[in-house]
């Protein structure tokens, strides 16, 4: 999130699209209600009428997988009716920038496409620079090659009629949403967008969010109170686990994982983002300091300037290698791995095409599963269709402590890092995860110390000293993440003050690239300082009155509650919305008042700099050349879709998605055997695969089994009654469910045809409860967004039929 949960109350218009906030983030809904109580409009756009819709001032339906068409229509409406914030668009976005003449778009393809590689050469999408390397601009926005005019041209095709044909949303409904949301383009109004997996789990997931980012940039809704693009993430610490680099492509703090062609630290640092524009902060220019400090936190004193701080010991990806989830399980299925950790996860139910995932687990020599409760992953070898006598995989199940049985911090979607304390001991022999990994590594190191082995340096040199009185101490790790000085510094270049060796750094501004500082994750630097554990703070002061609560817990980066907040002021530093001033420049005191400013430089009108400090050009990217599937979002159909032809172009599906073919990977589009659009989703009473909810008596009583929601019309067509047992089927798998026949779903009219949509929750598994049904992911395809590789679980084609007799018991 750019903003945070309490900030919803500061919005004038709230759009929840790609999510179901009332059911999946229930308590946050109080801040939507708070906004509504002050007159805000709440809009819900979804294929299904949910409890969120019941509270919406405007609810409209769209066919799953057509969000870009819907949002593209909104971009056109905003431009046609001049609803955009002209000052903001000119000063704080790249609308005025001139695009390289090689950029073009024709019939669903951007220039630079290579059909044999299914990839673009993105180098033809760049912005033009002058002789000094500064982007060329036309502040009148009239140049036909400027971003603004190209945007207009691109979305001129997204007419109400065309959008209606694709989405199934009546034109009057589209206009209602466009008008209401478009009303936030004035400086005194704020509009916010709340999304979740309803936007990410598509083959155009990133571009769904990009389309909304363009709208927010046009309306001046980024960097302001009550605005922003706000991902309502699914797990209590999925923000933190991402920040800490538990993904193949990033190290902690979003430092890109090094690739093989970057042999030395100097090679890596040559890829540091650069800008020649003196008005662009380009914060990533500081990356070498964060990298050197990170490497020192890995290998401690063994990381020296002479050995590149141990850079070569770290594993490298091949150039362009994609080791993400779907590829990981594809490789496992092919037998690439002998060992596997599923730590605090249940991939046998959470992975797309779970049938393939379960088969992949049989190819391993050994697997370690760490969990609070038993799971379908731990027990895969005795699951449906498995013959344990034929499965070689050695399985270790390590019981771990639950959240209230250990100490540590988690980060919510609003980037609030909050400390939890230990309330009780974990039951039986279970242990905190931290203790388990700490002990396990010591055993591995002992082995490498005793016996010969492959390249032992990174293991023997690892800094692994997080103990107090012989016990693992989580506070020592928290301090390692914050960082500290490794030498006495008599005069620090930042503040000319002296710092002693071992002193915790005040924040990441003090990190150095010469090895004199250590920091596990620059983004969390300032979270645990000499002043104490900032995440544990519980003081409820609110000086701005906006609900920022700067002394409650701690927020990355630098306790900044709303990021890009200098976009909320004019060129002189005055709040553009005097009703909700987030920041104000105090000219006399030469300082900002309000939130922690996104860089404490003076306002732009004096000799200041652009507000979007993490972007190389310093401004919001309406034209976004950094993605694999184009600089403007374009509508493509889901991989499995109900119509033969994309009504927008000759490209039916996203032209750069990786197609997994053969084996257990099958796809059926416009196939009469699988005629209905299916989405997976969640219910309030369960969470993810249900590992932490299916075993709880209250929750399993409230939502005991797998169900399938369908419209009255579809039920009639298929002869299904409410409560009947049904079989939901795709070309990949089958699950049994109880039919919920409901007017919450309605058929769509798509290009003259009736298209039915069904929906299923994904919380169940064969292990427990016995008659609860199995995972919805047995049905979902192995296909991902080309940028993130997040699977397309929100739009695939399925069939549903009534079960006439009770099938044989499983397991």
């Amino acid at each position: 999130m750019t903003n945070h949960y309490i900030d919803f109350r500061n919005a004038d218009v709230i759009l929840n699209m790609g999510g179901n906030v009332a059911e999946n983030h229930p308590v946050s809904f109080k801040w939507i209600q708070a906004a509504r109580n002050k007159g805000a409009i709440f809009i819900h756009v979804d294929p299904r009428f949910t409890r969120t819709s019941t509270k919406a001032d405007i609810f409209v339906r769209l066919r799953s997988g057509t969000d870009i068409a819907f949002l593209g229509g909104m971009i056109k409406y905003i431009l046609d009716n001049k609803l955009y914030d002209e000052f903001y668009v000119k000063n704080y976005t790249n609308a005025s920038f001139i695009v390289n003449p090689k950029y073009n778009f024709d019939d669903g393809l951007f220039s630079g496409y290579d059909p044999t590689k299914r990839a673009y050469d993105a180098s033809v999408w760049v912005l033009e620079k002058d002789e000094k390397g500064i982007p060329k601009r036309d502040m009148t926005l009239q140049d036909p090659r400027c971003v603004f005019q190209l945007l207009k041209k691109h979305y001129s095709r997204y007419t109400l009629e065309k959008v209606t044909e694709i989405t199934g949303t009546p034109a009057a409904d589209l206009e209602k949403v466009y008008k209401a949301y478009g009303s936030t383009g004035t400086p005194d109004k704020a509009g916010t967008e709340l999304y979740a997996m309803g936007w990410t789990q598509h083959t155009v997931g990133v571009q769904n969010i990009r389309a909304m980012s363009i709208i927010q940039a046009l309306l001046g809704n980024m960097g302001i109170a009550g605005g922003g693009i706000n991902a309502l993430r699914g797990e209590s610490n999925v923000q933190g686990s991402t920040d800490q680099g538990l993904l193949y492509h990033i190290w902690p703090g979003y430092l890109p994982t090094p690739q093989a062609h970057l042999a030395t630290l100097a090679d890596y640092n040559k890829t540091t983002p650069a800008s020649k524009d003196p008005r662009s902060v380009n914060w990533w220019k500081n990356r070498p300091k964060y990298l050197a400090s990170f490497l020192r936190s890995i290998s401690g004193e063994k990381a020296t300037k002479e050995n590149d701080f141990g850079y070569s010991w770290m594993p490298k990806l091949d150039q362009g290698q994609d080791a993400s989830w779907l590829n990981l399980f594809d490789e496992m299925y092919k037998g690439t791995f002998t060992g596997f950790f599923a730590w605090g996860m249940n991939p046998a139910c959470s992975g797309a095409n779970a049938g393939k995932v379960r088969q992949a687990l049989t190819k391993l020599d050994w697997m370690v599963n760490v969990n609070v409760f038993d799971s379908e992953t731990a027990c895969f070898w005795k699951g449906p269709g498995m013959d344990s006598k034929k499965i070689k995989t050695e399985v270790f199940v390590l019981p771990c402590a639950a959240s209230m049985e250990k100490e540590g911090s988690i980060s919510n979607s609003g980037r609030w890092m909050q400390w939890r304390y230990k309330a009780s001991n974990p039951p039986g022999e279970s242990k905190p995860d931290g203790d388990i990994m700490y002990e396990l590594f010591k055993k591995v190191r002992t082995l490498y110390g005793k016996e010969k082995g492959a390249f032992p340096e990174p293991i023997l040199n690892l800094k692994w000293d997080y103990e107090t009185n012989g016990h693992f101490d989580i506070h020592k790790v928290a301090k390692e993440i914050n960082g500290y000085f490794l030498e006495d510094i008599s005069e620090h270049p930042v503040d000319k003050k002296a710092y002693k060796k071992g002193t915790l750094v005040p924040n990441f501004v003090f990190l150095l690239d010469d090895g004199r500082t250590s920091c596990g994750n620059w983004l969390y630097s300032a979270s645990y300082t000499e002043a104490g554990n900032m995440a544990a703070r519980r003081k409820k002061t609110d000086p701005t009155g906006l609900g920022l609560y700067p002394e409650w817990s701690w927020v990355w980066p630098l306790n900044r509650r709303i990021i890009y907040n200098r976009a909320s002021v004019d060129l002189e530093g005055n709040p553009r919305n005097p009703k909700r001033p987030l920041l104000k420049w105090d000219a006399a005191g030469k300082k900002w008042i309000g939130d922690v400013p996104d860089n404490a430089v003076p306002p732009m009108g004096t000799h200041g700099v652009y507000p979007f400090i993490m972007k190389p050009d310093g401004v919001a990217s309406i034209f976004g050349p950094g993605l694999k599937d184009g600089p403007f979002p374009e509508h493509y159909e889901p991989l499995e879709c109900p119509i033969e032809k994309n009504l927008m172009s000759s490209q039916r599906i996203n032209p750069v998605i990786k197609i997994f073919e053969g084996g257990l990977d099958t796809f059926k589009t416009c196939d009469p055997r699988y005629p209905f659009v299916c989405s997976t989703y969640r219910v309030t009473e369960h969470w993810q695969t249900g590992v932490l909810t299916r075993w709880l008596p209250w929750l399993i009583e409230a939502e005991p089994q797998m169900f399938c929601e369908m419209s009255l019309e579809l039920a009639k067509l298929k002869g299904i009654k409410n409560g009947d047992r049904v079989l939901v089927e795709t070309s990949r798998g089958k699950v049994e469910a109880v039919a919920i026949v409901t007017s919450r779903l309605k058929p769509f009219q798509i290009a003259g045809n009736t298209v039915h949509q069904i929906g299923i929750p994904w919380h169940y598994g064969w292990l427990h409860p016995k008659d609860g049904g199995d995972s919805a992911n047995l049905l979902t395809p192995t296909i991902g967004d080309p940028n993130t590789m997040i699977p397309e679980s929100k739009a695939f084609m399925a069939n549903v039929t009534k079960l006439t007799k009770k099938p044989a018991q499983k397991g």
Binding site: P26, V27, S28, K30, G234, S236, V238, G240, G245, L247, P252, A263, I298, P315, K316, L317, L328, F337, T338, G339, F340, W343, G344, P347, S350, V370, F373, I391, E394, F396, V397, C400, M404, E405, E407, G408, N412, S413, G414, A423, D433, L440, K443, L447, Y448, A454, F455, P458, L462, Y466, I474, V477, I481, K540, Y549, T684, L692, L696, L699, A702
Partner: protein, 189 residues
């Protein structure tokens, strides 16, 4: 008066009804206060954050003198949830107090149809040996292009957004020191 679970529910029910029929002239609020006091009287209060979705609601966990969790409820001082919790958050204590919890280390040998309970020491020793065997067998110093990659191709990991920040960081460090590159978790799905 001995308060059993049954009579407690009766009191709570009557209190709820009393709120609705507040005009009838009797006041059950002392009974309500008394009933609430009994459950958590003398209990230790520990602040926590809910482990389910990403809203980050504050929770107070009550534990008895023996350190056993006896209750959890929304933290009224917490600025995000102001004491409120959803169905999942309200059930939180049932994670701690639950007969289904895994309490021992389990091992399933190749081709076996059974779990076996084993000691931590035995399991961690065996896992460490497995790691070394898989790593040594699949370690790649240079790729096909001759570039130094120093990686372990034969081990993969998924997890976890269910860990605390400090554990996530430690786990990321652990995996990368082993040379593992197939590192993924919930954020990708």
């Amino acid at each position: 008066m001995k308060i059993t679970r049954r009579t407690f529910l009766k009191i709570s029910g009557a209190t709820a009804a009393g709120t609705v029929m507040g005009g009838l002239g009797f006041d059950l609020s002392p009974a309500e206060v008394y009933a609430q006091e009994l459950r958590i009287k003398g209990a230790k209060e520990t602040t926590s954050i809910c482990c389910y979705c990403s809203v980050g609601c504050g929770v107070i966990v009550h534990s008895d003198a023996k350190g056993k969790v006896i209750n959890s409820e929304g933290d009224p001082d917490h600025p995000i949830n102001e004491g409120a919790l959803c169905a999942k958050g309200s059930s939180l204590y049932q994670i701690a107090v639950n007969d289904n919890r895994l309490k021992k280390v389990r091992y399933r040998a190749p081709y076996s149809a059974q779990w076996k309970e084993v000691s931590w020491e035995w399991a961690l020793d065996k896992i460490a040996a497995n790691i070394k065997k898989s790593r040594d067998a699949s370690f790649m110093e240079k790729n096909a292009k001759g570039q130094v990659v120093n990686r372990t191709n034969g081990i993969a990991s998924v997890g976890s957004a269910a860990l605390d920040n400090e554990e996530c960081w430690l786990y990321a460090k652990f995996l990368r020191s082993l040379g593992i590159i197939y590192i993924e978790h919930q954020a990708r799905i």
